[in-house]
C-alpha cells in the first residue's frame, strides 16, 4: 500500500498522480558511486519513494569528502560509505528497500549486480568505471543516466533509451575513446565547488524520476552542460551513429575479458600498487626514495623524508634518482600512477617502482581509523 500522506505533494501534481507514484514504488534503481553526485541522487530518490535502490561503493568517508558529500557527517569518517548512507536513507524513508553493495564494480561482478535493477545511474569518479558501465549497460540494454563534473561545470545525459525514432546512444557516442590518464584531472586534483555535484546530482535524480514516471522530456540522446559560475547551460544533440572504433565489447563474454585500466591507457605492468599500510612500513627502508609528484604548494605535506618533483618535471629529473626502490605519491593516486608509468619507461626493470594507491587522501583516512 502506498503511503498517500508522505507523497501527497507530488501525487497532487498535474500529470503525476497515484499512477506515477506507483511506478516509482515498483522501480529498481542502481546508483554507482556514493560520492558527490551519488549523495543527492540517493537522497532525492529515497525521499521520492523509489521502491528499491542499490548503492555500489567500496570507499570510506574521508574528511575531504564532507564539503560536498552531504549524506555524511563528521562522525562517519572512516565508515564505509554504503553503511553510512544506508543509515541516513533508512531513517529518511524506511519504506524504501536499500541494498548495500560495498564493492567496486568490475568486469566480474557487473553483469550480476546490474541484472537486479532496471535503471543505472553513473555517479562514478573515473574513466575506467565509466567505460565499463557504458559497455555493460549497452550490452544488457539498461537505461543509463550519466553525470560528470569538473570544477564548476557539469554534464548530464541519458543513454540506452530509444528516442521517438527508435535510436539510442551510449557514452561512447559522446566520447568514443577514453582520454589518456593525465588528460583530465579529477575532483581530488582539480578541486570542485561543493554545491556543483548537488546541482548535477539533483538533475540526475530528476531524470530518473522522469524516465520512471514518463513525465516531461528526459535528456535522451542529448548532453546538457551547466556552468555554475555564469549559469551558461547548453543542450547538445548526440549523434546516434554506428561506432567506428571496434575496440569495445559487444557481448557479455567479450565484456568479461576487458581490461578497463589498460583500455584507458593505465598500464600497470611493472608498477606495484602500494596500500597506505605497506607505505608506512616500507617508506623509510634503506635504498628507498619517496617522491611527491604534486606541485610544491600542495598540502598536506608528507611527514617522512621525501623528494619533491612535480609530475611535469619528472622526465627531466629522473637522473636524480639513485635508489632502487622508488615510491611515488600524490593527492589521489592518479598523478603518482602516471608518474610511475613515466619512470617505468625511463628507468626500466632494474628499479622497483611503486605508487601509493589512493594517494595521501588514503594515507590520512587509514591513520584516522
Amino acid at each position: 500500500m502506498l503511503n498517500l500522506e508522505r507523497y501527497d505533494r507530488q501525487i497532487k501534481l498535474q500529470g503525476f498522480g497515484i499512477e506515477a507514484q506507483e511506478k516509482l514504488a515498483s522501480a529498481k534503481v542502481l546508483v554507482i558511486g556514493a560520492g558527490g553526485l551519488g549523495c543527492p541522487v540517493l537522497q532525492y530518490l529515497t525521499a521520492a519513494g523509489v521502491g528499491n535502490i542499490g548503492i555500489v561503493d567500496d570507499d570510506r568517508v574521508s574528511p575531504s569528502n564532507l564539503h560536498r558529500q552531504i549524506l555524511y557527517t563528521t562522525n562517519d569518517i572512516a565508515k564505509l560509505k554504503t553503511e553510512a548512507a544506508f543509515e541516513r536513507l533508512n531513517a529518511m524513508n524506511p519504506e524504501v528497500k536499500i541494498d548495500m553493495i560495498s564493492e567496486r564494480i568490475t568486469i566480474k561482478n557487473a553483469v550480476q549486480i546490474l541484472s537486479d535493477y532496471n535503471m543505472i545511474i553513473d555517479c562514478t569518479d573515473n574513466f575506467p568505471t565509466r567505460y565499463l558501465l557504458d559497455d555493460a549497460c549497452r550490452i544488457l540494454k539498461k537505461p543509463l543516466i550519466f553525470g560528470a563534473i569538473y570544477q564548476y561545470e557539469g554534464q548530464v545525459a541519458v543513454f540506452n533509451v530509444p528516442d521517438k525514432e527508435g535510436s539510442a546512444t551510449h557514452y561512447r557516442n559522446l566520447f568514443p575513446q577514453p582520454p589518456k590518464p593525465d588528460e583530465v584531472p579529477d575532483c581530488n586534483d582539480a578541486g570542485v565547488l561543493g554545491v556543483l555535484p548537488g546541482i548535477i546530482g539533483t538533475i540526475l535524480a530528476t531524470e530518473a524520476i522522469k524516465l520512471i514516471t514518463g513525465i516531461g522530456e528526459p535528456l535522451i540522446n542529448r548532453l546538457m552542460t551547466i556552468n555554475v559560475l555564469d549559469y551558461q547551460t547548453a543542450i547538445f544533440e548526440i549523434p546516434a551513429e554506428n561506432l567506428k572504433d571496434q575496440n569495445f565489447p559487444s557481448t557479455i563474454t567479450e565484456f568479461e575479458k576487458m581490461n578497463y585500466e589498460l583500455h584507458c591507457g593505465i598500464d600497470l605492468k611493472g608498477i606495484t600498487n602500494m596500500s597506505a599500510l605497506e607505505f608506512n612500513k616500507i617508506a623509510e627502508l634503506p635504498d628507498t626514495i619517496v617522491i611527491d609528484v604534486r606541485e610544491p604548494d600542495e598540502s598536506p605535506k608528507l611527514e617522512i623524508p621525501y623528494l619533491s618533483i612535480p609530475l611535469s618535471q619528472l622526465k627531466e629529473n629522473s637522473k636524480q634518482i639513485k635508489q632502487k626502490n622508488v615510491i611515488l605519491v600524490c593527492q589521489s593516486g592518479k598523478r603518482s600512477l602516471a608518474g610511475a608509468q613515466v619512470l617505468n619507461e625511463i628507468l626500466g626493470s632494474d628499479y622497483n617502482i611503486s605508487h601509493l594507491e589512493g594517494g595521501i587522501n588514503q594515507l590520512n583516512t587509514e591513520i584516522n581509523e
Partner: protein
Amino acid sequence: MAIVKIISFGRLKEILDSDLELEAENSDDLLNQLNEKFHQLKDLKLRIAVNQKIISENIELKNNDVVALMPPYSGG
C-alpha cells in the same frame, strides 16, 4: 570563409583562455588552426559541436556558427 564563434568547456577553457572568433572554411580547417595556435590541444580527446549538434565528420561552416569544444569530465 566564415567567421565563427568558439566556446569551450572544462580544461579547454583554461587552454583557450577566452571565447574567441576565427575565420575558417570548415570544421577540420578550424581544428587545424586551433591546434596550431594552442599546442596543448593536440592529442586531447575533445568533441566538437556546431550550433549545438555534435559532429563526427568535417562540415562546412557558415558566418555566425557557434562551435563548441568539449572534453570529457571524470569527476563524480
